[in-house]
């Protein structure tokens, strides 16, 4: 049809939806009855939105102006006119969070399929004989690149489980469908670990042939545990919304160093560069920023209507990923941490600015800061520091009220799992909240230079 697809997470609250639909100037949205109410509440604020199509709707339960589309009852088409497109024609627009500003739309093009096809074939190792299960939600980039495009272009049979996490249910699903290749995430693996090796041994999981993980660094313990539980290790893979496909990874057959993200995919030139000069670091083991030489097929081509931000991601001919890592003597990459304030919770990036902006819309909140705090399962979860307006007192009820306010406005991922009420927040002399200070305290790290701090 010539349109650009914009996947959206079904658990997004109305403000998170509005931000992404308004920025993209989205013309049509496909949704279900369950989520249509959220769209209705923001539709009047979206002048570009021409069509709302409810795929499981009928004439009785859609509102005026909406289209009820019942896929099962609709006529099948014998022929469908395909809009001509080339390798550089835009295809998918994925929104991703940064430290500052609103989420940005990473725009991909049709030639990205080359990278998605090859990485699915060589890294996920899927073949036409496999039964493949990608546990990612299709609203996120993994769900699109490796839940749809990668497996479809390789002609593999897929199993899809539309349900929340549940150890028993997941193992039953693997056993029932004889899953051979399983692409999951560290948070899920750590939850399975919590339920012990014995829980895995109760099920017949010997169909599993190859296991891969993505979303956040896979800790060494999880790799070692998976060998005990499944008789084979999870292979960590590294990539981002902006890279469109896996760029650094542990290949099948390669010696795994538990805790390492592996080596660059063929055709990808990856290194770590100095934090200040952006020159590649020649001394092995030195921590720098992960950098990629631009030009691979699935590289994002723009941030939607934000040229300045797109250009800021490149320095000295490198695309700077925003993650810190080192490379060992054997060429393996080791993740150290994010180079910014973005929170990685269960493999999803959440921008502190978006949370702080939403917090300020709560009637009791005067100022706020959002950071990631350590979490044994999700790597990080959101913690908010909140200073209240006069006339409001900290209480358990208010904490719950603020949590639910953010959950409904943004998403459950963005909901602070803890709120600390404070009298004021540490700021620089120019009035900028020093998240770095709050984060360092939370992680028990060195606080560093506080010479620009305004108040103690």
């Amino acid at each position: 049809m010539g349109g650009i697809t914009q996947p959206l997470f079904s658990a997004f609250g109305e403000e998170a939806l509005f931000t992404r639909l308004e920025d993209a100037g989205t013309k049509a949205i496909l949704t279900t009855k369950k989520h249509a109410a959220k769209v209705r509440r923001i539709k009047d604020r979206l002048p570009a939105l021409e069509r709302v199509i409810v795929v499981d709707g009928n004439e009785q339960n859609v509102k005026p102006g909406e289209i009820a589309f019942n896929m099962e009852k609709s006529d099948r088409l014998d022929r469908f006119k395909i809009e001509p497109c080339g390798p550089e024609t835009p295809s998918v627009l994925h929104y991703t969070s940064g430290t500052t500003g609103k989420p940005k739309g990473a725009m991909h093009v049709h030639s990205a399929i080359i990278a998605q096809y090859l990485t699915a074939k060589w890294v996920l190792d899927i073949t036409p004989d496999d039964i493949y299960w990608c546990t990612a939600d299709p609203g996120w980039v993994t769900g699109t690149s490796y839940g749809i495009i990668g497996p479809w272009s390789n002609g593999v049979a897929q199993a899809v489980l539309d349900s929340g996490f549940n150890t028993e249910k997941w193992y039953q699903f693997i056993a029932q469908h004889k899953i051979t290749v399983w692409y999951s995430a560290p948070t899920a693996i750590r939850l399975l670990m919590k339920d012990s090796t014995a829980a895995a041994k109760k099920h017949k999981l010997d169909s599993l042939r190859h296991l891969i993980s993505v979303g956040e660094p896979l800790n060494a313990e999880a790799v070692i545990w998976s060998e005990q539980a499944f008789g084979k290790p999870f292979h960590d893979s590294y990539w981002q919304t902006e890279t469109g496909a896996i760029v650094i990874t542990n290949f099948p057959g390669m010696k795994i160093k538990p805790g390492s993200m592996g080596k660059p995919f063929p055709g990808i030139t990856a290194t770590v560069v100095d934090l200040k000069t952006f020159e590649p670091l020649s001394k092995r083991g030195t921590v720098g920023l992960i950098a990629l030489k631009p030009g691979w097929p699935s590289m994002f081509r723009a941030y939607w209507a934000n040229k300045e931000m797109y250009e800021s991601k490149f320095n000295k001919d490198w695309y700077i990923c925003g993650d810190r890592a080192s490379i060992d003597a054997d060429g393996y990459f080791w993740f150290v941490g994010r180079d910014d304030d973005v929170i990685n919770t269960a493999g999803h990036l959440v921008g502190p600015f978006e949370i702080e902006s939403a917090l300020l819309e709560h009637e009791a909140v005067a100022e706020s800061a959002a950071i990631g705090k350590p979490d044994p399962v999700n790597m990080e979860v959101v913690k908010a520091f909140v200073a209240l307006k006069p006339g409001h007192e900290p209480s358990g009820d208010l904490e719950l009220n603020i949590m639910n306010f953010i959950r409904k406005k943004l998403s459950p991922l963005a909901m602070p799992q803890e709120i600390e009420f404070v009298d004021s927040l540490p700021k620089t002399r120019s009035g900028k909240i020093m998240r770095r200070l709050l984060r360092a305290k939370e992680w028990g790290e060195e606080i560093g230079d506080v010479s620009t701090l305004e108040n103690d």
Binding site: K34, A37, F165, G396, P412, L413, M415
Partner: protein
Amino acid sequence: MSEDLKKTIIDYVKKEYLEEDTQDDINESTPLISSGIVDSFSMVSLKTFLEKKFNIKIPDDKATPEAFDTVNNIINLLKDFKVA
């Protein structure tokens, strides 16, 4: 007591986690977490609600997706705290 408790929790789940004009309904044995009505992140707000409402502290090792999966499971969990 148990009926009141059941109603309190069901009412809260309906109010906070279901869309107003949805036709979905829940009862004490409806799966909440495994069905996705309450996802694992939102579970924290449900746990916080129970803690504030009943003035208890549920330790993390008891706040599992299974323990929160149905209203009946939650009531069983609350028995440990002499609430149910």
